[in-house]
Structures are given as structure tokens and as C-alpha cells.
Amino acid sequence: MTFFAAIGWSLLRGVAVAMIGTWLAREIVSWLHDLVDSWRRLAWVGLLVSCFTPSLMIGYCYRDTSISLLPSPFLRELLYAAIIAVQGVPVAVLLIWFAPPPPVSDSAVHCQSLLEARGLSVTQLWLRSKSRSLVPAAAVLFLLTFQEADLAALLQASSWTEWLYTQHAGGLPLSESLRLAAVPVAVQLPVLVPILIWILQPSEAAGGVVLQRPAGRGGQGVAAGWIAAGLLLVFAVPAWQLWRGARQSWPALLDQPGTWRELSDAGLLAVTSGGLALTIALVLHPGRTRAGIDPARPRGVYAGRVCRLAAFLFLMIPGLLGNLALGLLLAGIFQTPLLLAAYDTPVPLVSGETLALLPRVVILLCCVLRMSRATSDHMLLLLERSSDTGMRSRLREVRWRTTGRIWFGVILLTCSWAYLEVMLPSLLAMPGLVPVGLVLYNSLHYGRISALGAKLVLAMALPVLLAFCFLVLRRLSFSLR
């Protein structure tokens, strides 16, 4: 397959997943909106678990299946596209759910169609209403599908990322790799615009108010079925396969002294890149008005705001182009004479992971800032100013329950993305730095699946264990006060 044929396949797949996925996301949002709180929380958990399942776990499960589908390229493509869609649709749901209210509501659009009012066409009204949430959702689905690289390599999907990565690792000069990568980057650039517009909207409360159309019975069935099928495909089946494989390979794991070093390298990378990405996002995000920042503080002079916006966009865009393009770009930059001294250090990899994380962190930040918490914020203010010491002593626990847990989740998620990142370490890691994700990814390519299960389970369980210990310690420290 030629490079341009591979780009064509990726484009076709991206458009298909974007169209179908956006429709699905819209149905899911309507259904979520109709659910009572407890069921809605459960549905969100089901949706997000599929989204955040690591690609290593999915690759471990489906690599052999994909290879056995070699005689049936259509089925192999369907499997890959289904996995990408299951992981991408929850992101589209988040973008629709947390989209700020548009200037034109659905009611206004309906009135216009009834009155056949002149002056504004249906299309123009649509652009000012539903498109504000649906177009960014479709754009993000397209990007996630088009630039996906990890699973494409493991499942041998027809994709420009798999083509370019294989050619680059096989000896294509870096300059040539960058020249070729410019084509898919150019394809993605216009698609970034609606996503950036979504991000730069003011952080006012959102939460399903854009789509007030209730879900029909068919829509409810589709939404619930999709979530259940997605959980089965990308979480339950891989988890079962992983557990089965791990049970057979625990003894072999104990014979590998390098495992703990690989885990600690990955942990260090996660903490560093995650911390940097969160800090940059909090400092530079133009739409912030909450999260501990005083809204009464002067917003600064116009030039300062423009500089901050420019810095924000400059740092955001590389990460939005995909990890392969980003990795190649940084490999080129750090091999120039000016930065060559840093090539042999962790700097290229940490920079790459930070930039890759930044768009995801910013989207998470937008969702958090757009959560409606007026009541809880007011309660915190009252507790803080209360003359009763007992009331003031409850402040910490209430703050943890209303905002602390959310931010804990954001930090955990951010670090977990960096922890199991595979593409960037394969391009940028310095000798001696061997994060566990890279080792597992290389080993998966070897096909030595039976030896990997235990290591993958350990790699995934360790952060969960650490998070659990933190929560227990926090609880204990509060009880002792």
C-alpha cells in the first residue's frame, strides 16, 4: 500500500467514525439527560471505562484475533474501527455535554422553521445552535481516529501512522519522515479549529442544556446497547484475557529484575509529564474562572491576554496532531545543533509527553470548570466564614467531596495517560530509560503474549494500588483530626 493510499484509508475511516459516532453521542447525551442521578452516574462510569482502557490491554487481547483475520481484511478493519469508535464516542459525549449554551436555542430554530422567518436560513441558525456542540464532537472523533497509532501498529490496520512508523523505524531519513508527515498534519489542521473554539469558550455552566430533545425509545436502546457492547468489547473481554494470561506467567515475571526499574521509570515520567501538563493548562487556559482562582482579580492588560492566548495555542496544537507526528517533530528539533546536547537526556521525551497530554488535560479542565457547582461553592464559602469551629472543621471534608475528588481524578487520569504511553518513548527515550509501556509494546510486537500478561497486570495494578493507599491515608488523617 502506498502512503497516500494509507492516508486515504485513514481519512475514510475517520469520516465514517466521526459521522456515526457523532450521531451516537447525540443519542447518548439525550438518554443521559433523561436518566435519574444514580443511573446517570452508572452510565457515565460505563462510558468512561471504555474510553480510558489502555491501548496496551486492548492490543494484548486483540492482536492475535487481528492477525487471524488476515484473510478477511474487511472484518479486521471492522474490528479496528469498532474499537476506535468505542473509545472515541465517550469523548464526543463529553464535548456535547459540556458545550456552553449556544446563542440560539433549539426552540428558536423550531420557531424559525414554523414561521419560515426571512433573514436567516435554517443552515445559519443550525450553525449558531447545534453545530456549536456537534461539530467539535465530530472533529474530535475524526482526529482520534485519523491519528491513532498504537493500536494500528498492533492490529496491523491500514493506516498512515502504521505506514509511516514502520518506514521511519526501518530507516527512512528523519527529514523524509517529516516531509511525509506534513501531509496528514495538513489534513488535520482545519479540523482543529472547531475543537479550539470549543475550548476557548468561556467556562460557564453547561450540562446537557444544549440538547433538550428527549431520547426516544429507539434512541434509549441504541445508547444503552452501545455502552454495554463497548464495555464488553474493550474492557470485559480484554480484562478476562489478561487475567487468564497473567495467571500463567506470574512465575516468569519474578525472574525479571528489570521489571521494577521499568515501572519506576514509567511512574517518574507520569508524575513529571502529568504535573507539567496540568500546570501549563491551569496557568495558560484562557477560559478559566474557577478552580481556586479569584474571579475578582483583574484580567490583565490586552497585550498580556493576547500573549497568553498565543502561548496557549502554540503549546496546544502540536499535541492535537497526534503522537507520531509530534514524536517525529521533536526528534528532528532535538537533533539540530542547538539542542543536540539535550538529545541524550530525558528532555525530549518529557517535552513530548507534556505536549501530548496538554490537549486532553485542557479538555478535562474545561469539563471540570463547566460543571455547575454554584450550590457547593456557596456552601464552602459559608463553612469557611462560619463562627462555629465545628462547622469550620468540616470544611476540608466537604471540599474534598465537592471538588477534591474531581481534581484527584483529573490528576490520576493525566498521569495514567503518560504512564502507559508507547509511541513517544519508542521515538524519544534516552538510552537507559525504559518505561514499562515501551517494553510491553515492543514485546507485544514480538507476539510473546504469554509472557506479558503478568507484567501488564502489575503495571496497571500498581497505580490503582497507590491511589487506593492515598485515599486510605487521607481518610485516616481526617479521622485523626
Binding site: N442, Y446, R448
Partner: protein, 337 residues
């Protein structure tokens, strides 16, 4: 205030951890290793244990094995990061030697190896070989060479798999065919192979998986991949691939990078890898590599004994360096179309 103090402590701890990681790499011998890290890491850890010299390994993916590292070393020629290159084959190492990337060293390991497995200047030395083999799923077809050759000539090859010839030992295999058959015959045969539906997959391990799981009936792979399938209980057998009467035994090779700042440590590692003990370890490992230097055959596992016999009929791989360069140029052009 408390939160700021905690943040400062975290930042300091993280910085110290990075200093430690960077120091680990600075003090260690950097090895670019194309051999399967699952096996290589154990050998390198043993070296560290015995000598106290730390090793930092840079591996590669199975799909682009050795070619990726060869290209990387060529790119880094003027600013080498690597101290020792452990390749899992020979032809790429010869390319590096001809490009001046490798430096000479004729230590105890070099002296131990037969002439046809080493560079006379000491730029590289071969050790621990493996053979190119047919892998056959015996539940599907019998493992007999005449039958396999007949199938290879048949109009339908959808049940056959080979690895992408752009990389690894398949590239070495094609380089031999390039020279023995001539370029035009090889090109025509390869086009015919694809036209008849032969599965061209990313690596030898994938070939092994396809045949082992019965998706394909037979294919070309290496002895180490065959043994992984056999040890996992799959119904497979191997037959050495012969071109004429000769087999294809591809040695691992090791060389010291010219300009290394850790020459003493690099030489110690090279001699260690070329020692009888390491060749026997690799023979006894799951990969069943064939010792190329003198060893007591009574110490060899039963599986390796027939391999050692087949290896005696093998080509002298040093003769195919130029063919490799020409073949690779053609294959890169093929891959980009």
C-alpha cells in the same frame, strides 16, 4: 503555605529522581540491541552481576528489527550515543563497518571465533547463530521438503506467510536469493509470490503465530521463533531452508562503536558476549541459538544438536554485503509504491 511547601518537596524529589536516571545512563555502557530483549536482557544482567559494569539497552520493535538500529547508528555516526552494537544478524553490521561506524578490537572473543564469522580487522564478530527454516503446521500439511517446494510453486499461496523482506533475517534471505538467482529472477518471483496471495506480514513472530494457529499452513521464519511455537504446544515442525544444497545460518554479531567514551567497558562486554559460556547460555535458552565457536557438544541441548549439523552447510554470509545493499534499494522502492 502548606501546599506550596508540599509542591516544592515534590519538585525536588522528582528532580533528584531524574538526576539518578540520567546518571544511570551516563555511567552505563549503552548497547543498541536487535536481539530479542526477552533473551538479551538476561545475558546483559548476568554481565552486570559478574563485572559490576552497568548496561543501558536500547531495543527495537520486532517489525523493524536491526534495520532500524543500523539506520540509527548511521545517523548518529558523528555524535555516537551507543558504545556496543549487538545485532541479531550480519549484513547490517557489515554495512556499519564499511561506513566506518565500528572500531577494531581483536580480543579473546575475536580469537575464539572461526574466520568466516568475523571481520579480519576486528570491527565485528559473529556468534550464536540461527537458521532460516520452513515452519509447518502439521495438522494441516505434512512437513516434507518436496511437498513444500511443490506448494511454493503452486498458483495459490494464500496459506503461506513470510515476513516483510525489507527487514531482519528475511532481508538477509532475500539478499542471498538476489545474488544466487540474479536480481531479475528474484524480482519476478517476488511479484509472482504476491500475485498468488502469499501473506507478507510484519515479522517472523507473526509468521510463526499465523502458522501455529492454523491461519496459514506454512511459512518462512527463524529457528528461535519456531521453538517459541513448539514450546507453547502448537503442532509445528521445522525444515531448514536450502538454496541449492546450502542452508542459511545467520549469526548474531557484536561490534564496538568508533569513538566510544567507554572503551574498556565495551571491550569487556564484547568478550563476554563472545565467550563459550554465553554461547551455551543462548543455546540453552528458549531461542536455542547455535554456538559458532568451539564448544563441547555434550553440553548442547538435544534440540540444538541437529541445528548445529545443518549450520555446517550454511553460506558464508560475508559474501552478500553488496547484494544486500542492492536488494534493499529495490525493496524500499517496492514498499513505497
Amino acid at each position: 503555605m502548606k501546599h506550596w511547601a508540599l509542591a516544592v518537596v515534590v519538585v525536588v524529589v522528582v528532580l533528584l529522581a531524574w538526576v539518578s536516571v540520567t546518571g544511570r545512563s551516563r555511567e552505563a555502557v549503552v548497547v543498541y540491541c536487535a536481539h530479542d530483549l526477552v533473551f538479551a536482557q538476561e545475558i546483559l544482567d548476568d554481565f552486570t552481576r559478574e563485572t559490576g559494569i552497568n548496561v543501558a539497552v536500547v531495543g527495537d520493535t520486532e517489525a523493524t528489527k536491526s534495520l532500524g538500529l543500523v539506520q540509527r547508528l548511521l545517523l548518529e555516526k558523528d555524535h555516537p550515543r551507543c558504545d556496543v552494537f549487538w545485532n541479531n544478524q550480519l549484513l547490517g553490521t557489515i554495512q556499519l563497518s564499511e561506513a566506518g561506524v565500528l572500531g577494531p578490537y581483536r580480543g579473546s572473543g575475536w580469537k575464539r571465533m572461526p574466520d568466516r564469522f568475523k571481520d579480519p580487522e576486528g570491527n565485528w564478530v559473529g556468534f550464536a547463530g540461527r537458521l532460516r527454516v520452513w515452519i509447518v503446521n502439521t495438522d494441516k500439511i505434512p512437513a516434507e521438503e518436496p511437498g513444500l517446494l511443490e506448494r511454493l510453486a503452486s498458483p495459490d499461496l494464500r496459506r503461506m506467510a513470510i515476513a516483510q523482506p525489507l527487514f531482519g533475517t528475511t532481508l538477509s534471505h532475500f539478499s542471498i536469493l538476489w545474488q544466487e538467482w540474479g536480481p531479475e529472477k528474484l524480482k519476478a518471483w517476488y511479484q509472482s509470490l504476491k500475485a498468488r496471495g502469499c501473506r507478507i506480514v510484519p515479522g517472523n513472530a507473526t509468521v510463526k503465530n499465523l502458522v501455529a494457529e492454523g491461519v496459514c499452513d506454512f511459512g518462512w521464519t527463524d529457528t528461535d521463533d519456531y521453538f517459541v511455537a513448539r514450546d507453547d504446544g502448537f503442532p509445528v515442525q521445522q525444515i531448514p531452508i536450502r538454496i541449492g544444497t546450502r542452508t542459511i545460518c545467520i549469526p548474531n554479531t557484536v561490534g564496538i562503536i568508533r569513538g566510544t567514551g567507554k572503551l574498556r567497558e565495551a571491550r569487556a562486554l564484547v568478550d563476554y558476549l563472545l565467550s563459550k559460556e554465553v554461547e551455551l547460555k543462548l543455546a540453552r535458552s528458549q531461542s536455542r541459538q547455535i554456538p559458532l565457536g568451539p564448544v563441547d557438544t555434550s553440553e548442547l541441548p538435544e534440540d540444538v544438536l541437529p541445528l548445529a549439523v545443518w549450520a555446517r552447510d550454511s553460506f558464508d554470509m560475508r559474501e552478500f554485503s553488496r547484494a544486500r545493499a542492492e536488494c534493499l534499494t529495490w525493496l524500499k522502492r517496492e514498499a513505497s509504491q
